[in-house]
Amino acid sequence: MRIRNIFVLLLAGAFVLSTRGESVTGTISITKKLTKRNVTPDVSVYQRGMAVELGKDPKEDPLAFERSRVVLYLEGPGPAGSEPAPQIAQLDRRFVPDLVVIPVGSTVSFPNMDPIFHNVFSLSKAKTFDLGSYDKGESKHIVFSKPGIVEVYCHLHPNMAATIMVTPNRWYARVGASGQYRIDDVPPGTYTLVAWHKSAGFFRRTIVVGPGHDAVANFVIPITEGSDQTAPDAGGQAQ
């Protein structure tokens, strides 16, 4: 962990030196469980007439999972980027992974790894498509040329769902397990920072990235009543 942190810092340092850009960093705190995890039950657990409870893994920290599902990005035009070979596989009647973040213009492939047919389609405004049903081993791909949120489903298995977040530029980040995020190589200026969680929604905050110093923005999700975070812009100032 420590070595990894040092390595990240060294990398960041090298990046800062080479691009003259600053970073946007902060901590995401999630106060309660937000996502209802939907998993197809194993058939062997089925017992007629008995309710089955799923997604109860006591070893997993549910809030860490929630944090990992938060995406941050800066609105507005920016430099294009590319995620190396993003893909959403169909495995064990689930989309794996079920959350993918890509900059606009990226191509996502959908390989079917199950021995049964799957279908991939979306009715989202950002991208409406239907790849049809295809068998094991086949893979189809699609280019996302508009930013936005694309919900992906399977006609054959209604409980399968995945989300693709298409960001307008390459300034986006996902939250690490401990809650930290970092968007590098942001030129000085005033931006709107967006934090998004599928269940909690969008949280916007105006940040100012000054020359020579990073902007820091912390979020508490969801917004609690009476908190100063009701005005997202207020707390976004650099410290």
């Binding site: 058939v43 047919f117 049903s133």
Partner: protein
Amino acid sequence: MMTRLRTRAFLICFVPFAVLLASSFWMIQRYMEAAVGSGVRLSLRENQYSIAQIHARTDLENNRFLKVAGENSALKAGIELLRSAPASDGARRTVEDQLRELGEHMGFDFLLISAPNGRPLAAVIRNAAESGQGGSQLEPFNVASVKGMGAGLAQFGGRTLQVASVPIDQDDENLGSLAVGEFFGFSEFTTPAVLLHNGQVIESNLNGVPFSELNAAFAACNDQSECDLHLHGANWISLPVQSYGGGYLLRSLENVDRATAPIASRLHRLFLGLAAIAVLLALVCSLLASRTIVKPIAAVVSHLRNAAHTGVLPEFAGRPSSIFEIRQLEEIYNRAAVSVKVAGENLESAYLEFIGSLANALDARDRYTSGHSLRVSRLSKAVAAALNLDADDQERIRVGALLHDIGKIGIADSVLQKDGRLTDEEFEIVKQHPVIGRRILEGVRGLSAFIPAVELHHENWDGSGYPRGQKGRETPIDARIVHVSDAYDAMTTDRSYRKGMTHARALEILREYAGTQFDPEIVAVFVNLPREVLTKQAGEKEAPRIAPQPAMAVAG
């Protein structure tokens, strides 16, 4: 077969009564049982019909539930996929997987997708018996073996499934149909039930009853109708609950015997008790009746048996019977007894007269002995009277004395009427006469009482007499008396070779020989007899009276 009158009378009274009572009670009981049985049957039938109605309502609800399952869009997508790629294993697997998931969620044991033309496309079936422990899984099922599938029952792999079907439509287009099934079970039946297919039992919740036995019992049942059948030694009623089509029929069963058993046993006990009381009454009445009939007859019989035992035929004495027939019987018997007695007496007296006349004839052979038998008889009777013997003895002695020389019939006149002394040989011949006399009397029944007087009247007191040489009181008193009387008369009677002695001289001689020839007691009595008795002549006497006096019993 010989039976007692009492037994016969009892049986004739009792058996018809008992049979009549028992059979009428039995019939009443059967009738009551039948009445109770039909009542129970009615209530059973109502129960069965209400069960059938509940069953039908459940089916209706199941159908609504199934319609929702038919609107499953994922399944529709699967079917479309399957139609677009009919040869693809993956597509079939996909639909099977969908069916499996659907089945597990909804709790079916069998799911099948068919094309609109009825061709089966994909199916899953539960692999293990419904043990309820989660071990069972839905597995792909080879649809090639499935023919058409509608609603109703079907058999797969030796198990019976209850199947319902729903069409799957996309907009106005029919994509096919979904058939779902559950293993047929009797869990919803609290009563015994069987499932028949074309008249053959294929499922049953009657534990321990083999299907062959059920088949045999149901062979008599007509489809769709109420039916009585005999199973395991009991009467059952069976009603059709539901017909599934295709020859499948569900029938409920109810044990009528068990339902009626409490009432039947109560009735049984009641009637058994009544019958027992009735039979007991009949028994008592029959016993009394037979006793009444038999008692007078038994009295007659015992009287007759007594008569047969003693040889006497006493007449019925006392109050005559109140029963007409019995009284007649007694009277007839009395008349017969009297006539038998009279006939016996006549016969006896005829014999005596005959023998008496023989004695007279004997006396008449010799003028010297004329009247001898009569005189000895009279003297002997006088002695017996003097000895205070009773009347029967006196009479026996009198007649015995009269006959005492009867044996002389067998002695030749030449010896008997010889003048002068007899030779030793001639005397030996004369000495035979007591034995001959005994032989004569022996042959005649009723005269045996006189034998001692005839045979032994020459025995002496000291044992020197003949024929036996008996001593003293060995010789019966009859013979001893006759001996003295005979000697006295012989001494006082004139003979051809000498004149008779005087009475005094004769008595003297008797005294002299008392204790040697004669019994001293009798001699003592004899010599004291009145003189007129001793001297009375036979010729002046009354005619010999031989016929027995009325008081004398006819000895057997």
